[in-house]
């Protein structure tokens, strides 16, 4: 009944782009964590005495009993233990990776919670493996989680 469009070039498209930008700030506890990471290569944690749980990365509020604000003034690590890991062969957009990446949950010594980061320079992966952090040189740190290249096997 209608003149159907048979040539894709005949389709009139109105193109546009919606500008959406955002900035995520890591909050009071997150800033304490990233500042210590950048300036002194240390890991800080916060502790809820009521639950006897030490959070690293630190939390402003205890997620078990909602107590807070907790102060991020405890140093943990730098060594830790691999609690779990996963090997990724595809990137975020589904593209195959030349080199697989290993993402691990690392519980730093003295902490009760885990930190997500890469395992680097590690051939045989094992839950329970002791690891230590591999930092960027001090001048290259920007206050990002990537100031840490990842964790490598300790010893």
């Amino acid at each position: 009944m209608f003149e159907k469009v048979s040539d894709p070039k005949d389709v009139i498209l109105v193109e546009g782009q919606i500008p959406i930008r955002h900035r995520y700030t890591p909050g009071v506890a997150g800033e304490a964590f990233f500042t210590a990471l950048r300036d002194s290569g240390k890991f800080v944690a916060s502790r809820c005495e009521s639950c006897a749980v030490t959070y690293c990365p630190p939390r402003l509020f205890c997620e078990r009993c909602f107590e807070g604000p907790l102060v991020s003034n405890i140093e943990v690590g730098p060594e830790g233990t691999v609690e779990s890991f996963s090997v990724g062969y595809t990137g975020l957009e589904g593209e195959p990776l030349d080199e697989p990446v290993t993402v691990a949950l690392v519980r730093l010594d003295g902490a009760d919670t885990v930190l997500v980061h890469f395992l680097v320079d590690s051939d045989h992966l094992m839950i329970g493996q002791k690891v230590r952090p591999a930092f960027l040189p001090k001048g290259k740190r920007t206050g990002s989680i990537l100031d840490l290249r990842g964790f490598t096997p300790a010893g």
Partner: protein, 215 residues
């Protein structure tokens, strides 16, 4: 702010007895300050790529192609004998397909208008924009579209004012409603600067070209 809070902090929470109020310097009842927002350590900036393409469809697609040729197209419905501008492939009154393409005039009358001293993004304008709804000649009553008026003083605009399209030169048209630069009064004496403009029409038109094109 404190008085409006119905309960005291921690009321009803068994654990609250021993919990001191948070120090306000640490976690005050205030939003993030601008400097804190900008200088936050560990902040992550990200821009979402939200691009889209909207298919104009059969009726409006043809309408836009018509504008590129310098004609305003409509569709006729033989059920209600109306001419629909902008065109649609279905008649919303008869609930049946429309029947044939027709060309409307590029003249009409002002149905309603507005005088805007700020732009859509709230930038103040020295010379106001005058968006209006056109009742287009050659189509049924109430048919037409929104556009802008030009070459007219805001005080001279009236409902019922007869207007005509000022088209872009053909090589500049791209199949858009903006292929019509604006509408101006058909009566040359009602146009802005009419008394002086008789011998200098080209100058005033080219000056306007930059101001309208820049919006």
């Amino acid at each position: 702010m404190t008085a409006r809070r119905g309960k005291k902090r921690g009321t009803g929470n068994l654990r609250s007895v021993d919990v001191p109020a948070p120090p306000t310097s640490f976690l005050g009842p205030r939003p993030l300050r601008d400097a804190e927002f900008r200088q936050a350590v560990g902040a992550v900036d990200f821009a979402v790529e939200a691009r889209y393409a909207w298919d104009a469809g059969i009726a409006v697609g043809e309408y836009l192609r018509g504008l590129k040729r310098g004609v305003i197209l409509g569709r006729e419905c033989r059920g209600c004998r109306r001419i629909l501008v902008p065109p649609r492939m279905f008649c919303e009154e008869c609930f049946r397909p429309t029947d044939r393409w027709v060309e409307a005039e590029d003249t009409g009358t002002v149905n309603t208008f507005s005088i805007c001293y700020i732009r859509w993004d709230m930038v103040p304008l020295k010379d106001p924009e005058i968006p209006f709804v056109l009742d287009i000649d050659g189509a049924s009553p109430g048919m037409g579209f929104m556009h802008k008026l030009g070459e007219v003083r805001p005080d001279d605009v009236r409902i019922g004012l007869e207007v005509e399209a000022v088209w872009k030169p053909e090589e500049e048209r791209e199949g858009s409603i903006l292929d019509i630069r604006y509408f101006r009064p058909r009566d040359a004496s009602a146009r802005k600067g009419a008394r002086r403009a008789s011998g200098r029409k080209k100058t005033s038109a080219s000056r306007r070209k930059t101001s309208v094109g820049g919006v």
